[in-house]
Every structure is written in C-alpha cells, then in structure tokens.
C-alpha cells in the first residue's frame, strides 16, 4: 500500500493536476485536469468533491431571520435621530406595524391595557343593546383559532363582540370616517387571515401567534376609536 501511495505522489500527472486544479475550478481552460481525473480515481474524487462543494454553496438557503428586536432597535434609533420626517396618521402606523413587524413587548402590553379599558365600555354598550343581534361578517376575524390560551381566546371573542357592535352602529358614522375605519379593519382582517393560514401550516409558531394577537389588539383599538367617534 505504501508503494501505491508513493507511486501516486510521484506521479507527474497528479502533481500537474494539483497545480492546475484551482485555476480549472475557476473556469480557466485546462483540459488536462479533466483528462487526468478520468484516469486517476484519487484525483477524480477531489475534483468531484470540490465541484460538489461549490454547487451546494450556491444553493445555501436564506432560512434565517433576525429577531424582532433588531427592527425595534433600528426604528428607535432612526426615530431618535429624526430620520422619520414623514409619518402616517396614528392608525396607519399601527396597521403598518401589524403587517410588517411585531412591536416591542411594552407596546403590546400598552395595547392590551387599552383593550381592557375599552372592553369595559363595550360590555356595557352590548348589554344596553341586548335586543340587537350581533351581525358578524363571514370574515377571518370571526374564527377563533384553536390552541390559544384562555386569555387569548377571550381577547378574540371580545374583538368579535366589538365588531358586531360596530356593525350595528356603522350606519351612524360619517361616511368619510367610516371609509377610514373600514380600510383599517380590512387591512387587519387580511393580517389576521394570513396569520391563521400560517398557523394551520405551523400550529406551534409562536411568532405567528404573537402577530395574530397583536392584530386582534389593534383591531380592538380601531373598533374602540370608531365607537367613540360615533358616540360624539
């Protein structure tokens, strides 16, 4: 066996192969490399392996995404530096945030606190209008996703109640204001539908759940705002 090794090392064909291999792989014409590899198993292994490594490298997937904190930090820094010179109205920013990036935990907590406050208002309103049947649209928002915690399920149901209440009162809204609210609700319903579709494929994806609950929380705020506007 040692004799075989020695023979190969001393083989001028192998030495030439090694000398030209890098250039050959870079596309420089060097037909001797391929010719030699056809005759020498050891060199053909190297050539095939290196070609394979190069091919697999081209196809490495971009399956990694940074955590939401990266955008939160970028956003906060840019805001502090005054780069956001053109800001959308409050509701448009919330909707954009719902469809693009999860907000920071304190913001979500604030949204939830606001939600709890408006629930109290709406519960009373719903009770006062008890004879009125909820008018639920057959949208994605009327579905309660499975696998949510008790608090999350309550949030979803409360938002649905709020939507029913909004539907019952929407005719009293100023048409231009109604158009704005409808646009916001449609956008959020689309986000909710996207989340529900994703959850069907990936039931345990916590990020999607977080998006979903944020979308519901934001929807609750829009509905609360609409009802507050309508009651003026």
């Amino acid at each position: 066996m040692a004799e075989v090794k020695q023979k190969q090392i001393e083989n001028p064909g192998c030495r030439e192969f090694e000398a030209n291999l890098a250039a050959y792989l870079e596309g420089d014409a060097s037909p001797d490399v391929r010719t030699h590899a056809k005759q020498c198993p050891s060199c053909s292994f190297i050539l095939e392996d290196l070609e394979s490594i190069r091919a697999v490298a081209k196809d490495l997937p971009l399956d990694e995404a940074p955590s939401p904190r990266v955008w939160s930090n970028i956003r906060a820094t840019l805001a502090a530096e005054g780069l956001f010179r053109e800001q959308k109205p409050f509701w448009r920013r919330w909707i954009a945030a719902a469809s693009l990036v999860p907000r920071t935990a304190p913001a979500a907590a604030l949204a939830f606190a606001l939600l709890l406050a408006v629930i109290m208002v709406f519960k009373g309103d719903i009770q006062r209008n008890g004879s009125r049947q909820p008018v639920l649209t057959p949208s994605a928002a009327s579905v309660v996703p499975v696998g949510l915690s008790g608090v999350q399920t309550n949030l979803v149901r409360t938002v649905q109640d709020m939507e029913a209440n909004y539907k019952a009162h929407e005719s009293s809204l100023d048409p231009s204001a109604k158009q704005v609210y409808e646009a916001g609700l449609t956008s959020l319903n689309n986000s909710i539908q996207e989340c529900l579709d994703s959850l069907q494929k990936q039931p345990h994806n916590m990020l999607v759940r977080e998006y979903l609950m944020q979308a519901y929380a934001q929807k609750a705020e829009i509905l609360a705002s609409a009802m507050e506007y309508g009651s003026r």
Partner: protein, 212 residues
C-alpha cells in the same frame, strides 16, 4: 415573458420605497428592512457564526444604510449597495476583534495547518454526503480568512476582483485562499465521515464509464 413582469414590478416597488424612505417615510424604512433582512442576517451569521453578533451587525448595516439613503442615486442595485455595506460592517468588526482576514503573503499559509492531500486509504469520495446542513457547519468551522473568501465567492457570488477590492488583497490571493478554503471544507467532510461512520468503503471502487 411572464416571469419578467413580477421582477419589473418588484423593482418598481423597491424604487418607490427608496424614494419614500428618502423623504423620511417610516413605513418605507420598515418595508425595505423586511425585504432584505434575511439576506443581510444570513450573511452576517455565516461570516460570524454567532447569532447575537450577527443581529448586532445586521442592525448596524441597516442603520448605516438608512442614514445614507438620501445619497442613493441608483447607480448600482439597492441590494448590491446594502450587501456591500453589510460585508464592510462585518469585516470592520472582525478587524476590530483582531481576526486575521486573509494572508497577504501567498507564500505563507497563515490560516493554520497546511492542507494535506491524503493518498491511499484515507482518500474518500464525498459526493452525495456534501449537503447543505453539513456545509453550513463546515463553513462555521473554517478559519476566518478562508471563511470570508469562501462565503463571498461561492455563497454570495462575488467575483475575485470584487473580493480583492473589498479585502484589500490581490486577485491571485483571493483565488488561492478560495481554493484552500474548499480543500479545508472537503477535509472537514472527510473527518466527519470518519467520526460518524457514514462513509462508504474507504475507497469507492470506480466503475469505468462507457467510453472511458
């Protein structure tokens, strides 16, 4: 033909987003981040091998980009500009950490042990066992200089003249480092085949193909 429409449409959308971001529109910044975050983060993660550092540098690359976005005139593709910026951010970080990026002396292999070619019993054919998961791991274990050149050339598709410019080295040096990196990766697969006993027999009998 039908494939060109979405591409043209996407480019138009990106141009609109850039224009809006140049006016300071927050939504446009968010959309640009969303569109490019995976590619930038993947690059940082592959070059650094550390998720926390990769996130910090992704953040830094986007911040630098957004601060300069008013100066973007579209001479090169936006993604190219961003990518180049991300590469520079990573290289600067590695330099600060004192990690040697590339040997400027081609006669000396400063990236560790010289790469040996094994003959005889230890020579194995690896085709078929070189997969994406293994390659990702092998890349993460390359010495920094080899890793950078390999990622830039074979993964990200930079040309040697571009790498030479980015890395401040000669084109020949970039080519040489790339070849050594590929040999190192092959060596990694050989070692791990031995370790996990996945390999086919030490030397796979090569059936002569018809016409050979």
């Amino acid at each position: 033909m039908s494939l060109q429409k979405p591409a043209a449409s996407a480019a138009a959308t990106e141009t609109q987003l850039i224009t809006r971001a140049q006016r300071g529109d927050e939504e446009a910044f968010a959309a640009l981040f969303e569109a490019h975050k995976r590619r930038v983060y993947s690059l940082c993660l592959r070059m650094l091998g550390n998720p926390t550092e990769a996130e910090d540098l992704t953040q830094e690359a986007f911040l630098q980009l957004f601060r300069k976005i008013a100066t973007f005139r579209g001479e090169s593709a936006f993604s190219t500009w961003l990518h180049r910026l991300a590469v520079n951010v990573v290289l600067m970080h590695l330099r600060k950490k004192g990690l040697n990026q590339i040997s400027l002396d081609e006669t000396e292999n400063s990236q560790g042990e010289p790469i040996k070619r094994d003959y005889g019993d230890d020579d194995r054919r690896l085709v078929g066992s070189i997969d994406r998961i293994g390659l990702n791991r092998a890349i993460s274990e390359l010495p920094p200089g080899y890793r950078t050149v390999f990622i830039l050339h074979d993964v990200e598709g930079y040309e040697h003249n571009e790498i030479a410019e980015i890395m401040n080295c000669s084109i020949g040096n970039s080519k040489s480092q790339l070849h050594k990196a590929r040999l190192k990766l092959r060596e990694w697969f050989q070692q791990h085949q031995i370790q996990f006993g996945r390999s086919s027999p030490a030397r796979v009998a090569r059936e002569p193909k018809e016409g050979e």
